[in-house]
Each structure stands twice: as structure tokens, then as C-alpha cells.
């Protein structure tokens, strides 16, 4: 009974339906999760994600921070 069920699952995953509905979303999820995990491990980047408050939080002149936004360039 148990072997029968496993066999059916394998058969379904190998089929075109199984690839589209299970394998592909699973692969996509693992890749996306991996990217997020890598970002968290690598840490922040020098380009700030939050609104700027000071000019130095923007790329070098001619960029400046204007009311929370980097402008110029």
C-alpha cells in the first residue's frame, strides 16, 4: 500500500502535470528563498534602501539629499 502510494507520487511528479504544478513552483520557491537568504547573510549594501537624510547618503556630488530623496547626477 505504502510502496504503491510512493510509486504513484513519483509517477505524478515525472508527468507533465506534476512538473508544472509541483516541481516548477518548488524550484522557484527554493531559488527565491536562497536569494533572500544570501542577501540577509551578505548584509547591507552601500546604497541605502531607506530615504536619505544627509547628502553623504547619496552618491558623490552632484547628488544631494532633498527632502528624503537623492537627486542630481
Amino acid at each position: 500500500m505504502k510502496n504503491n502510494l510512493r510509486g504513484k507520487i513519483r509517477e505524478f511528479l515525472a508527468s507533465e502535470d506534476g512538473k508544472v504544478s509541483v516541481k516548477a513552483p518548488l524550484t522557484l520557491g527554493v531559488v527565491t528563498g536562497g536569494i533572500f537568504l544570501a542577501q540577509a547573510i551578505i548584509g547591507p549594501t552601500s546604497a541605502t534602501a531607506c530615504p536619505c537624510q544627509h547628502d553623504w547618503q547619496c552618491p558623490n556630488p552632484p547628488h544631494i539629499c532633498s527632502v528624503g530623496t537623492c537627486i542630481g547626477g
Partner: protein, 329 residues
Amino acid sequence: MRPSMLIFIFAFSIALLGTRICPVLAKAPDTAKILFGASREGNRELYLMNSDGSEQINITNHPADDIYGAWSPTGEQILFASDRDEWYDLYLMDADGKNVRRVFGKSAHRECPTWSPEGKQIAYERQDLGERFIYIATSDGKNEERVAIGGSPAWSPNGTEIAYVVQAGQDRWEIHILNVRTRKQKVFFPPKAMSTWIGSIPAWSPKGDKLAFSWQNQLPLKAFESKETLYTVNRDGTDLTQIVGEVGPKVTSPVWSPREDALLYAQQDGRAKWSLQIFKAVLGNGPTEQLTAIGSWNVPADWFDPAYALPVSPQPQSLPTTWGEVKKR
């Protein structure tokens, strides 16, 4: 024990002692010096100059961006942020720019450092996953603790409070004050919720009775960005005073003189939006003096005067007399 082993132990002890006493041997400036950031050769560096703008020297000389810095209370060290290791993090150097070392063992995006008045702790802005937070740590980079949401902290001269900037909503920037002991936070400015832009790190006056900051509240904020100018307000929230008129170009980044009789600030010099020069305004309708004229971006960071600093760090047991009170004398 073999003589070679004795020599090794002796040499090791001397080396160990050397690393311990090296910070003590770092020398504070003999005369008043202004620390400022400037972009003169393509990247941002930290410079020193005299109070009249003379003798401007680059003390960082590094291809990375070296930005906002703060003198230690004794003037022997400068704490600053640099992106020499991919993103901004905090570094310490001697007052002459030598002996640069990282503050923290584990890298993170840290900037806008400020010293506690006795020099044993630092506060700074740290960005975690795109959010700004205020952290406190010991000045040796240990015991890092998140204490508030926000950025641009400034430790009060009596050590009890930290003023910092919070983005409370779309186009709503506020100055909050954190009680260091209780960790309680209060909105300090503006007194009621409104669309407003705080464009600078709040600057405590040396006596701790006033705060200076740059502010813009004409709507829409972006359309009137050139109206950002300098204000002071008492710590109790009274006597909001405009220091520089709104007629001229944008004004930002106030720094108090150690005597509390003048303010430094950066103002667009009219050549371009990104072209900032440093000015000194003597308070009480005194004269205004331009201190820098070269480079495209000059912003004051701190002003140290040995006449207003204690020669050594005060001992914790003698701290009932706070630094700010000593400075008043």
C-alpha cells in the same frame, strides 16, 4: 626558565602595555579646530581647519568616502564613518588622522556617531534591512544595543538624553528625545504633527539648554527645499529662533562653537545645488564669515577647543558633576 623565554615574555608584556597605553598617548589639538567633510578630489574626506578657516588639511586621505565625524570629549580621537569596507561603518583615528582602526569587529551599516560626554559610550545610526535605528555601544565596540527607531543621534552634554530624527510618515520628519536611563522616547519638535523636513543632525548647545537644527515646513516640501534654514529652540521647547533667513539658498548642518556664541553651517553657494560652503554666524546678529571656498561640498561636523575640554576622561565615581556642568564654568 631559559633567558630567551624571559626575553620573549618581557617583549610581549611591553607590546601588550603599548597597545593599552597608545590611546592615552594620542594628542589632542593645542588650539581650537573645526572638523568638516569636503569633496575636493572626487570623494568625500574629513578635514581640519582653524576657527577662522585657515590651515585646511585633509586628515583621512583615503580613496573611500569618509564622512561625518565627532571628536572624543578629550579631543584625542575622532570617531567617523567610512565606506572603505563596502558600506559605511565606524572607525576611530587619532586627532591627526593617524592610527585608523575599526570600532566594531562585525561589520554593519553604521554612521552619524556621537560620543557620550564621558567618552565611554557612543551612539550612532545603524541601518538594518533598510530601516534606521539608534544604537548605543561602548566605545570599544562592545555591548551594542538597539534603543530606538530613527537616525542622526546627538548625545546631550549632560549625558542623560539623546536627540535624534524620526521619519514619522510621508514627508513627516521629527526630532525625538530618548531618556538614556529609562529608554523613554518623546516627540520634541515640531510640537504638533505636521508635514515638515528636518535636514540635519540635531546639535546640542554646549550647555545643553538649546538645540540647533535645519528645518523646512513650507508645502509642498520638495518645491520649497531651498527654504530649509537654521533654527534654535530651547530644550523646554520655547523660543524657536530662526538663525539664518530663508531668502538665501538652503542652509543645513549646524555645529555650535564650544563657547556657544557662534554656529557653523553649510549653505549652497549659488553655483549649483550640490555646491556647499561652510559659514560661521556669530549669534545675536553678529557678523557672518565664510570659512571655505574651494571644493563642491563642504559640511561642518564638529568643533573642538582645548580650553573647553577636560584634560582626561572623568572617573565614573565623580560623575555627579557632569561634563556639561563643567563646561558652563
